[in-house]
């Protein structure tokens, strides 16, 4: 039940082509990640909406294959 970091990044970028995505494998087990996603599409949206967009991009893997993804999202400053 693990997922490589580059796969996560590819899914996010497929949904948010302008996004800058940084992913850290927190435990080195391919299962606990922290991701920072910065995209113009987040501007003006609540954090819940921003995270929902990222979860949608991950197409159901979050909470399943991907146990833990600590998310930080923002619009570019």
């Amino acid at each position: 039940m693990a997922m490589p970091a580059n796969e996560i990044e590819a899914l996010i970028k497929a949904a948010l082509p302008d996004a800058s995505v940084t992913i850290d494998d927190l435990a080195g087990d391919g299962d606990h990640y922290a991701a920072t996603v910065v995209s113009e599409q987040f501007r003006g949206l609540s954090r819940v909406r921003q995270h929902q967009i990222v979860y949608a991009a991950l197409r159901g893997r979050m909470g399943g294959e991907l146990h833990a993804l600590a998310l930080q999202t923002s619009a570019p400053t």
Binding site: R47, V48, H51, Y55, G60, M62, G63, A68, L71, Q72
Partner: protein, 112 residues
């Protein structure tokens, strides 16, 4: 998903100003993310209701559909979904969480 789960969730989040869906109980959280949100609420002196999704598979799946949010914990303030662990932590650190509680008229301990 049967409407009964959604009805139950709706009545829980309407019934308490602050309600947390979590893994475990506030006394014995069974997941680090749930534990962190409990810790933040306790630190802010916020009374809250909670439900343990580990005890009910139907609730565990139902809450994810209800909010269109894939993970637990989930915090609701005045019936509105505010966020999971990351969002609550970020809002606590920036002071936004306290502002939200004050705006919504939720009892809490003022921070210095």
């Amino acid at each position: 998903m049967p409407d009964t789960v959604f009805d139950r969730i709706q009545s829980e989040i309407d019934g308490s100003p602050v309600f947390l869906y979590m893994k475990g109980t506030p006394m014995f959280p069974q997941c680090g993310f749930s534990a962190r949100v409990v810790q933040i609420l306790s630190h802010l002196g916020v009374p809250f209701g909670s439900a343990n999704v580990l005890e009910e598979q139907e609730l565990r799946e139902g809450i994810k559909e209800f909010s269109q949010w894939p993970t637990i914990p989930q915090l609701y303030v005045k019936g509105e979904f505010v966020g999971g662990c990351d969002i609550i932590t970020e809002m606590f650190q920036s002071g936004e969480l306290e502002t939200l509680l004050a705006e919504k008229g939720v009892e809490h301990k003022a921070q210095a």
